[in-house]
């Protein structure tokens, strides 16, 4: 049963096709809200835009001299263009089951929010001329608007495991990376992934996407907690008593991630699904844009 039956395939395809446009549309809308314009490298280099005129040094190619400018003065000037090297950004959105959680039917699941944020960030980057791909290697970094649709199609695929860990196969050396997850999985694997990324000179952003229920732990009474896939299980007689210790552990996890990010030169932030997505996107974009 490796190949799904054609009908099943078609149903899945329709399901995907049904979800794809809304995801794209929402991400697009979100991206439009963050209009930043083309961003140069603020240094001279290869590019289309004019950067500055500088006096010609010896050794400059005669072809490089801008004669029109030079004619207006006694010295020779060279016309420099802004360096517009495209950046490669690899996205990783946790596709584990745990991301499917939502504490309230009125809130989107963490996965939905993470996908929207990632895709919107991807759209913004693509419009800025960057190359965007997926960190797990399923989609190589590429520029151009057509990449957006491919990104969306790849993002909405669900994984099967309970908790996810960042993949590093598709990271481009010296590139950027964007990891969105709840980071409830084994933190060691995150550390490994970031260490590998750091080795390759990749900088990036960790965005922890949490449901408010995961923050406030509003449960009481005798309860059996199960992970979304059912793999983990914890029974308690008084859920209310665990609240403080849960909060402490969550804070500890955040601290650990913050420390990890600082050590590797990454950025870390936490986003809740009950807050609007736009500020989170803006932060993401700024964080990615930050220069070394």
């Amino acid at each position: 049963m490796n190949e799904p039956a054609p009908t099943l395939l078609r149903a899945r395809a329709e399901d995907l096709a049904g979800r794809l446009p809304p995801l794209l549309a929402e991400a697009d809308r979100l991206a439009t809200a963050v209009m930043l314009g083309e961003h140069g490298r603020r240094r001279s280099g290869m590019g289309d835009e004019f950067w500055q005129y500088r006096p010609a040094h010896p050794g400059d190619d005669a072809r490089a001299i801008d004669w029109r400018r030079s004619a207006r003065s006694d010295a020779h000037y060279v016309r420099e263009k802004e360096w517009q090297a495209a950046q490669s950004v690899a996205l990783w959105v946790d596709d584990a089951r745990s991301m499917g959680f939502s504490g309230d039917a009125r809130r989107p699941s963490k996965a939905q929010r993470a996908q929207v944020l990632a895709l919107a960030a991807g759209l913004l980057l693509l419009r800025a001329g960057e190359r965007v791909g997926l960190a797990d290697g399923r989609l190589a970094v590429r520029a151009g608007q057509a990449q957006a649709a491919r990104l969306a199609a790849a993002l909405i695929e669900e994984g099967g495991q309970d908790y996810g860990a960042p993949a590093t196969a598709g990271l481009v050396p010296q590139g950027r990376a964007l990891f969105l997850s709840d980071f409830f999985g084994d933190p060691a694997r995150v550390e490994t992934a970031l260490a590998r990324a750091a080795e390759q000179g990749v900088r990036g952003v960790l965005l922890m996407v949490l449901d408010p229920a995961e923050e406030s732990f509003p449960y009481d009474g005798r309860t059996i907690f199960e992970s979304m896939g059912g793999g983990l299980r914890h029974e308690t007689q008084r859920a209310g008593d665990l609240r403080a210790r849960y909060a402490a552990r969550l804070a500890e996890r955040k601290d650990r991630l913050t420390a990890l990010a600082r050590a590797t030169g990454w950025q870390f932030a936490c986003h809740h699904t009950d807050t609007p997505a736009a500020p989170a996107l803006l932060w993401l974009y700024r964080a990615l844009e930050r220069r070394r």
Binding site: S98, M99, F101, K110, Y163, D182, F184, G185, D211, A213, E214, F217, Y219, D220, G221, R222, T223, I224, F225, E226, S227, M228, L232, R233, H234, E235, T236, Q237, R238, A239, G240, D241, L242, R245, Y246, R249, L250, R253
Partner: protein
């Protein structure tokens, strides 16, 4: 049966189940509440977190208690608890059950029968023979002791009687007793002469046990009329705490239905055995009264029938001559007036007015000729049951009334002239009266010696004369003749009503004769002498429960017997009638007093009430069920499941139990009073209500655009539930199938109309009918308005304020045109002031405006502001709509400003004065 205090258990072994409760307690305590399964990604962070308290979460003690009590309730319920269980009675041998069977038993007769049936059943179980005896309905011989099943069938047939047992009969019966037997005596609790002897007789044969109910007996004495008030005394046997009893006067309403004519409270002081209720009723009601009743009491003694003693007849006096000033004693009416005044309402005046007053009796004193119309109306009145009493006199003697042919309003033909006996110009002595013959209404009255007759009119000999003569002179000439006419009668006294022709009016006999003729009624109970020689037929009989029955085909009894009669089998209590007179025989006479029975110390007395069994199983099971329901909520709460929607539902369920109307009412009142709000009455017909709403919306818009009245959106008003006093104006479209308002709504509407509200009634049928009852809506309006306090109406006169309160209008079209609109009629004496175009009508706003032009349809606009219905045709139709709007504006102005525009008429005069 095993008993515990007042509670017995039919299945006491089940109570052993209560032993298991502690086990249950421990079990429930050990088992924690079931866990909830939750999907929660954060579980990864929870792994390894141990509970602070190692002991598993226990069910809280109060929940345990709740459950334990519920289970205990169920166990106890199935053990069959009975409150006040019947004790098995010891004893053997025959059992005699004695019931008083009087009216005093009637109040709790079914329970007494239950008691008897229980006794009989128990005796049957014990294999004893039984006899049941009712003292008011004694068997001919000694009691028949038979097996219980025989009596079981007969017990339900026992009936109480509306009288007390006859002591003599009881004594005779007691002598016939023989053998040994036990006696249970269900006493009615009243002291009676036969009690002690019977108790002694029964005690000789075996043990006697007495049952009595503690509930007091109440009784009414006959009502007494004095000084314009009717007083009635309420009795109770033993002085108890202070109590108030409501006494109701019963009688037919104008449609003949028996109803309450009035109520009065009689307050027993603490320890008193008598209280007095006083009625002040108008004569009309008093004459209609048929009896009194203690509210809520079901016995013959709680009913007191009234007879003629409370009635005051209305007697119209008409004399032929009214111009003999100064000679009061010679007036033909003087003696009649004096004789009748204490006992009847005497009215005098001209003939037409008197007939309008609908008298019971008309007395014509020496009236010979009546105008033909008067004669006709008088004859009709007599045929409908009136009594016409005529007195002779010189005018009648000289006229030729009833001379050749019998006048319908005369009982006999008269000879010309009359005769004079014992006068100065005649032979012979004044004539005495012959004793009244049997069959005459006067039979039995004693004739004083000094009554003599000097002159009289003579009757023509006729075959019917003897039948019609009810009193005659010693020589046999008729003195009083009578004939029936229709349902009424015509009576002629052949002498004058004053002392000119005879001394009869001077004697007491005159009053008694009038009394017998039911012209006057005495306020006292009739004595034997009063009733001598009369035969009385029972008309209405009371049963022991105080219910009235028609007593048909019962032999009459003699008046003397009736006067002395006590209620008994031969003279059952009720209303007795002889011709038009009525006498009531009540269970309680004027002198009757009630006293409680004093039983000797050795006789055990039990209360019927006490030994009533009361199974508690149902109540206990219900309580346990409620506790278990509580347990559901409590369990949810404990296990943390009572959150969000569930808590909302629980709160909602609680809130539904709480009264929550005040807020809605306040909101309604705020909306209605925030600004002027036009309101329409909700008819229940959705289409009519919708059009009314749209119509008032349109009118509100027009008002806001053209005048300084800027109404809020109109509201529909339910006259049953909403407060209509908040609205200055109600539009009431009449729907054909509209339900009539309730009595409460009518009261509200009348208050509204009296305190300045206005209702515009619209029958909406101006296209198919002239205004009136011809259409279904018109009929419905009449039905609805029947209960309303609507003044007399007239079509809107040309100078009505409505025609000029804002616009100058002369007609008031709606969707239809031409039907007249009706408003409260102007006072008839309104007059035009000099030089003014309008009459001087300054006061009062018509509380109603009635028409059928379907104004709402003409005013109605839809959401876009466009007219909903076409009016008329073309521009003429639009003009009509405009006039309809103008009528609406005028109407609202009239409602809000009253007669302000009418006052404006005076402005020139006021200005002129100010200028001076």
């Amino acid at each position: 049966m095993w008993t515990l205090g007042p509670i017995g258990f039919t299945a006491p072994w089940l109570l052993l189940g209560l032993v298991a409760l502690p086990v249950l307690w421990v079990l429930l305590r050990a088992i924690p509440p079931a866990p909830i399964r939750r999907r929660f990604p954060g579980v990864a962070l929870l792994l390894g977190l141990a509970d602070e308290r190692n002991v598993s979460d226990r069910t809280p003690w109060w929940l345990l208690l709740l459950r334990t009590v519920a289970i205990a309730g169920v166990i106890a319920a199935f053990a069959g608890p009975v409150l006040h269980p019947d004790q098995r009675r010891a004893g053997g041998g025959p059992l005699l059950v004695v019931i008083d069977g009087t009216w005093a038993d009637a109040r709790d007769w079914p329970r007494r029968l239950d008691r008897v049936a229980t006794l009989v059943t128990e005796a049957g179980r014990a294999g004893r023979t039984v006899a049941v005896v009712s003292l008011t309905d004694l068997p001919a011989g000694p009691p028949e002791f038979q097996t219980a099943d025989v009596w079981q069938a007969r017990v339900p047939g026992l009936q109480p009687q509306p009288w007390a047992p006859d002591p003599k009969a009881v004594a005779t019966w007691a002598e016939g007793l023989s053998g040994r037997f036990q006696t249970y005596w269900l006493s009615d609790g009243l002291a009676r002469p036969e009690r002690a002897p019977l108790l002694a007789a029964l005690s000789q044969h075996g043990q006697v046990t007495v049952f009595e109910t503690p509930r007091p007996v109440l009784a009414l004495r006959p009502a007494v009329f004095k000084d314009g008030k009717v007083t009635i005394e309420v009795l109770r046997p033993a002085g108890g705490p202070a109590a108030t009893v409501t006494v109701t006067a019963r009688g037919p309403d104008p449609s003949g239905q028996e109803t309450d004519l009035g109520t009065a409270a009689a307050a027993f002081a603490a320890g008193a055995t008598m209280a007095v209720a006083t009625f002040e009723l108008p004569a009309e009601l008093r004459n209609r009264m048929t009896g009194f009743q203690i509210a809520g009491e079901r016995s013959a003694a709680a009913v007191s029938l009234t007879d003629d003693t409370l009635k005051r007849r209305k007697v119209a006096l008409i004399a032929g001559v009214r111009d003999r000033e100064g000679l009061e004693l010679l007036s033909p009416l003087h003696y009649l007036r004096e004789a009748l005044k204490p006992e009847a309402d005497v009215i005098e005046g001209n003939f037409t007015d008197l007939m309008m007053a609908n008298p019971d009796v008309v007395i014509l004193a020496d009236v010979a000729r009546l105008a033909p119309e008067e004669a006709d109306s008088l004859q009709t009145w007599v045929e409908k049951g009136g009594t016409l009493l005529r007195f002779a006199g010189p005018r009648l003697a000289q006229s030729d009334v009833s001379r050749d042919a019998e006048d319908p309003l005369m009982p006999v033909r008269l000879r010309a002239g009359g005769r004079e006996v014992g006068g100065a110009m005649s032979w012979g002595q004044p004539k005495d009266l012959r004793p009244f013959p049997e069959g005459s209404p006067f039979y039995g009255l004693a004739i004083p010696k000094d009554v003599t007759v000097n002159e009289q009119v003579m009757a023509q000999p006729d075959p019917t004369l003897a039948d019609r003569t009810i009193a005659s002179l010693a020589d046999g000439t008729p003195l009083v003749t009578r004939k029936a006419l229709g349902q009424g009668q015509v009576i002629l006294f052949h002498v004058t009503a004053n002392a000119e022709w005879s001394t009869l009016p001077l004697s007491g006999l005159f009053v008694e004769m009038l009394d017998r003729l039911a012209v006057a009624t005495t306020p006292e109970q009739p004595t034997a002498a009063d009733l001598k020689g009369t035969t009385w037929v029972p008309q209405v009989q009371l049963d022991a429960f105080g219910a009235r029955h028609r007593a048909d085909q019962t032999a009459g009894i003699a008046g003397e017997a009736l006067a002395a009669a006590q209620p008994g089998p031969k003279t059952p209590p009720g209303l007795y009638a002889a011709q038009v007179r009525r006498v009531a025989l009540n269970v309680i006479g004027p002198g009757t007093a009630l006293a409680p029975t004093r039983w000797p110390a050795g006789v055990p007395v039990e209360g019927v009430q006490q030994s009533r069994e009361r199974p508690l199983k149902g109540a206990l099971l219900s309580a346990a069920f409620l506790l278990l329901l509580l347990d559901i909520a409590a369990s949810l709460l404990v296990s943390g499941r009572l959150r969000g929607a569930r808590a909302g539902a629980a709160l909602l369920a609680l809130a539904l139990l709480m009264p929550g109307h005040a807020r809605a009412d306040d909101a309604f009142a705020l909306r209605a009073t925030h600004a002027v709000v036009l309101a329409h009455v909700l008819t229940g017909d959705a289409q009519v209500d919708r059009v009314a709403q749209a119509g008032l919306t349109g009118l509100s818009q027009v008002l806001a655009a053209r005048t300084s009245v800027e109404p809020d959106p109109p509201m529909g008003v339910n006259i049953e539930t909403d407060d209509i006093s908040l609205f200055p104006f109600l539009y009431w479209p009449i729907a054909e199938r509209e339900p009539l308002p309730s009595a409460k709504a009518y009261a509200k509407l009348n208050d509204y109309l009296r305190t300045g509200g206005m209702i515009l009634f619209d029958t909406r049928d101006g296209d198919i009918a002239g205004y009136g009852a011809a259409t279904p809506a018109g009929q419905r309006l009449q039905d609805i308005a029947a209960g309303l306090d609507v003044p007399s109406l007239e079509p809107v006169p040309a100078d009505h304020v409505l025609t000029r309160s804002f616009y100058l209008l002369q007609d008031f079209p709606g969707r239809y045109d031409g039907q007249s609109v009706w408003v409260e009629a102007a006072p008839p004496d309104a007059s035009k002031a000099e030089g003014m175009p309008f009459r001087d009508l300054n006061d009062g706003v018509s509380p109603v405006v009635i028409g059928g032009n379907d104004w709402a349809a003409a005013w109605a606009v839809d959401d876009t502001g466009a007219a909903m219905f076409p009016v008329g045709r073309g521009s003429a139709g639009e003009r009509q709509r405009e006039i309809a709007y103008r009528f609406g504006v005028n109407l609202i102005m009239y409602v809000l400003t009253g007669n302000y525009k009418s006052d404006q008429v005076h402005v020139p005069a006021l200005l002129q004065r100010l200028g001076q």
